[in-house]
């Protein structure tokens, strides 16, 4: 499955090995791991609760992966995103892209992350010393996505 939403942690090394196994066309593997920080917007974070929209989240990420594959010469793209309660140091998300050359692998991986941040239905709620709060969407994430929308 190229898109997995799960409570469990993941082993990036094992996932990368599996994704490129027996495919000698692959000359480049780019990966991104998003991790829970211990601070956000000036507050200490003790836990992070991740909610999603079952069904739509998977479809939205699959559509992003399809767009990336149409745009770059990527052989395989894997996305794993965790849900549930996480804490600082925990892994949140893994994106892996394989290609013949690094340019396509880097670009596909970054494109998937930028679109996931703004299009895939996930919501984070963080626990701070002052109580729980929903994380606000960042304009910088919108900007990161829109730079892929220009001509070409």
């Amino acid at each position: 499955m190229p898109v997995r939403i799960q409570h469990e942690d993941f082993d990036a090394g094992a996932e990368i090995a599996r994704l490129r196994a027996d495919d000698p066309r692959v000359g480049a593997v780019a990966s991104f791991v998003g991790v829970a920080r211990d601070r956000n917007d000036g507050a200490a974070i003790s836990t992070l609760a991740l909610e999603h929209y079952p069904g739509m989240t998977e479809k939205a990420i699959e559509a992003i992966v399809d767009q990336a594959k149409a745009r770059w010469s990527a052989f395989e793209i894997l996305v794993i995103h965790r849900i549930g309660t996480l804490k600082p140091l925990d892994q949140i998300v893994l994106v892996v892209a394989t290609s013949s050359h690094r340019g396509d692998a880097f670009a596909a991986c970054e494109f998937v992350m930028d679109y996931l941040k703004t299009e895939a239905p996930f919501w984070k709620k963080e626990s701070t010393p002052a109580g729980e709060r929903w994380v606000d969407a960042r304009e910088s994430d919108e900007a990161a996505r829109s730079r892929w929308e220009g001509p070409g």
Binding site: G55, K59, A60, H81, L116, W134, D136, A137
Partner: protein, 85 residues
């Protein structure tokens, strides 16, 4: 027309439920009209939909706009801007 409306995250907490099945009046045929009709129901929808900024919508699990048309038994979702990754 009957539709199922889902709410997520901050909006779910603000309206105090995660879903409801609604029988809509004949004139409510788009996402925008449904949003206005929910607000017109009063609290808690009116407060929730005005206090939470940039609420987005999906129909049949696809991102939708205010002019997206609704169909019988549609699954319509409203939610705040997404914050995954």
């Amino acid at each position: 027309m009957k539709v199922t409306v889902l709410y997520f995250a901050r909006l779910r907490e603000a309206v105090g439920r995660d879903r409801e099945t609604l029988e809509l009046p004949a004139e409510v045929t788009t996402v925008g009209a449904l949003r206005a009709w929910l607000i017109a129901r009063g609290a808690p929808w009116s407060e929730a939909f005005t206090e939470i900024k940039r609420i987005r919508a999906a129909v049949a699990q696809e991102m939708a706009r205010d002019d997206t048309r609704l169909s019988e038994d549609a699954e319509v979702a409203f939610f705040p801007p997404v914050t995954g990754g």
